[in-house]
Amino acid sequence: MKKRFWILLVICLLITPVTVAYANPILVPDNDFLIEHWDYDIMYSGREYSTNGASGTVSVKKEPGSNIWIGILENGISMYINYVYDYNGTIWGLVNYPYDNDGNPDTPYKTITGWVPLDELLVIYDYISFAEEHEHEIYPYTGGYELAQSGDDTVLWTWPNSGVNKGTLHWNSLEEYEQENFRIISAYTDEQGREWGFCYGQIYVDENVWICLSDPTSTTLSTSATSIPASTSNDAPTSTENPSTGTWQPPEPADSLRKNGLSTTTVSVLFVAVLAVGAMVLIRVCWKPDKGDL
């Protein structure tokens, strides 16, 4: 009876790792390379990119530097890339692109997860692009926050004169910690002489937003034509395709899993199970219990 208990316990312990791996929420994309390098050299990007391969498509690879592709994306598809990795001086980004069987991203039930070099992508213009473009015109902000704290709805903008607002900030609606964290760390004066402030701190709408200090409540600030590039080059040719027309080409019939074999994690689990069972059998065969059951 006790022997059966121990056998059952060992089997449970062998199964437990697999259960743990799949029964709990996975907080990051399920990619072996990402997980294996998570603690060491994965960097956060958090920017939106558009595919822009020289041949009209971008091959998604199993891992940085690999020749094994797991899918092909046509140029013009936009997506967020949160994690990047420096592979021998070339930065690769982790693509986590949802799609359905027809390659339609609107009703996804599968996800293609792999790596592409950032050279084959264009970064979509964002607040970082703006800061890079106006590096010498942005200065530290030394004023107060009276405008933001006035009680009026302060309009939040993606960047000065972008024409795209990200909602409004109502000071009294902020949580106490949001008020405490709120900072305007730098400022910029546009061609019309309006001063803008870059906000730091996770406020309820978004972080990394600008407010127009000269006219904080206006939602109709004019857009400067020179400050809204469609995208910024990563030393790659400029795409002329409309991002919304991009379509995804599913991998060849041989599914990516079959093509690449089992994942490292699965192989490791199987290997450990075989090793443990092998050791148990060997002990059982080589030793006859000298003492009674435990």
Binding site: L13, V20, A21, N24, T264, G278, I283, P289, L294
Partner: protein, 114 residues
Amino acid sequence: MSGLPVSLALSLCLTLVLECGFFFLTGKRHKKDLLLVILVNVLTNPIVVLSYWLAAHYTLWNRNLIKVFLELFAVLTEACYYKKYGQEFRHPLWFSIAANAFSFGIGVVVQQFL
């Protein structure tokens, strides 16, 4: 070569060297007991390393608690095997606790240099 298989292989090799070393340090010389120590560690160490790796990467559980639980599993399993099959293990549980503490401690020190 990816991280997990390397971790598994390194941990197992290091554990075998250290636990066999500890076996000799305690004055034991019985060959069959030595083989038992090796097989028991082949049984427990990869399970412990793999379980820790999976738990650390896929869950938000406290890592120290995971270590304690897994080390406890290793100690108890090994003690049971030593008690059941060993020839010269007069205090199997204490031997198991001491051997695991020895290899865990040295492992922590070695990890600083890797």
